[in-house]
Homo-oligomer: 317 residues x 2
């Protein structure tokens, strides 16, 4: 069984690749919920939605987030009524938020709601939130403290970042499925998807006990670098690394995850960094990590799985 | 100034006719909110929406309720997710419910929210809810007590009706605009639109003091019969009258409103009822009351206005 940690689009793509390589019972995708927020009275879980829509094959591939064949008539009407339009909500996507919110208000856990939605979307592989407890990512910037979506969507990641806080993370428990996978002897590998290390993966690691349990896991831990040739494939990861005074590079990603991971998959464009990364005590696999197609997703997933298996055998040997 | 009391489609059509005949400062449309309910976490005011959409010229004329050029992608997605689909919500219409709910949750009164929405929809004439307090119409039927929308939409008015209850009506106050119009010496006439007398008008009359204040008003009170040739033009009014052991006729409508109204406008098809209605002490105007077109709305509005003026002059003479 493979435990994958994922955030938004990059994570969803690799999760999709893993789902094409693994049987349903052999994969659990644990998703960041630090980006969740309440908007227009709706509980919105952007990363869960992105992962679900990709696994269901209903994602909009060009936009990255949201549903394919989406329409925007609600948004247009809301704009005419003077409502807030900085966070785009498609007509079909709205149903997910409404149904989730109704079920949460009825007392279901986010795990239960996610299982229900995945079932309705005919997703066979397991998807779980990192926690059923509320954790909120706060971005400390030169414009003050911003809630994640205000930083990310409303302000287009423009403010300069000083640091991140994950409200309530240390008091939060891993979701039941996540907790079980961390405890299970059947977990053969932990894959950290190419999601933003600071915004998507860090909240997951900050949950009570998670970082320690992953670091001490007997299963090999493999990260896929979201930084390729000094830039992020999508999103603000590179900008944030520079604002935090670090170089935006796969080497810095490896340095960031040092102590937690056994290996990292880096892009062929970054092959030259391999010796420096290995000098950190982190094994390196080199492949194409830019996922433009389904076959890119499948190939990267296979590389990550095989790399983890090789690391596992190396440990046992 | 004319005070019009309205419910759903029939009321909205006459209100639209009145708005085409009167200056903005010369009309207040007070709308039933006994049908309001919370659905999918949204505060839905079906009658207010119908009146607003008609006055804004954005109504769907064929369907009667909702917006023109509506799309239903939210509903289709909600159905796929197993959500409740018995109450149809168009993608554009959803924005009204979301914006209203947000503003009510922020502490605005329903009057203030209605004013705001009318302003955004560029409605120049005044529209107000009957009350800013919660009143809920309960239908007592052979299937038990049903909330209004469950009776009306979910069960298609099929259960047999015994009586109606208007929860909290007697503890509710008229909305500020309604209260002011009832108190004002400038109110020249009160028009009871051809809305369901039991389901749309009765809740308005049941609000603390309203029936007495209308009955005692120095302004003439004119109703327009929603029953034409023994049937309702739209909706369950005739069926309900029969279930309550009454004849479905303009005469019975006049009898129902006796003591409250000075005159009633009946359809030319019911001209033969005029002597019997006048024997009740209610004056009668006869015209075409079936509003199939804008000009039908305008002509019926003009008839009601002129009839009220004539009644007023007769009193003064």
């Amino acid at each position: 069984m493979i435990l994958a940690l994922a955030g938004g689009v990059g994570g969803a793509k690799l999760a999709h690749g893993l789902s094409m390589q693994l049987k349903p019972r052999d994969l659990l995708v644990v998703v960041n919920t630090g980006d969740d927020f309440t908007h227009l009275g709706l509980h919105i879980s952007p990363d869960l939605d992105t992962v679900m829509y990709w696994l269901a094959g209903q994602n909009d591939a060009a936009r990255g987030w949201g549903l394919a064949d989406e329409t925007w008539n609600f948004m247009a009407a809301l704009e005419r009524l003077g409502g807030p339009t900085w966070f785009n909500l498609g007509d079909r996507d709205l149903a997910t938020h409404v149904e989730r919110t109704q079920r949460l208000c009825a007392g279901d856990t986010l795990s239960a709601v996610t299982r229900y939605l995945c079932d309705r979307l005919r997703i066979e592989h397991a998807v779980a939130p990192m926690s059923d407890d509320k954790v909120r990512t706060i971005v400390h910037t030169d414009e003050g403290e911003l809630e994640f979506q205000h930083y990310f969507v409303r302000r287009h990641c423009e403010p300069r970042v000083f640091r991140f806080a994950f409200e309530n993370a240390e008091a939060a428990s891993p979701s039941p499925a996540f907790d079980a996978a961390l405890a299970s002897a059947s977990t053969d590998a932990i894959v950290i998807c190419p999601s933003n290390p600071f915004l998507s993966i860090e909240p997951i690691l900050k949950i009570a006990g998670v970082r320690e349990r992953i670091a001490q896991s007997r299963a090999p831990v493999v990260a896929v670098s979201p930084i390729v040739a000094g830039d992020a494939i999508k999103g603000p990861a590179a900008k944030i690394m520079r604002e935090l005074g670090r170089e935006a590079s796969a080497l810095e990603v490896a340095r960031h995850y040092r102590g937690l991971i056994d290996g990292i998959v880096i892009d062929a464009l970054d092959a030259a960094l391999k010796p420096q990364i290995e000098a950190l005590g982190v094994k390196v696999a080199v492949t194409n990590t830019i996922m433009k197609s389904r076959s890119d997703q499948t190939l990267l997933a296979r590389t990550a799985i095989e790399f983890a298996a090789a690391l596992s055998n190396a440990v046992r040997a």
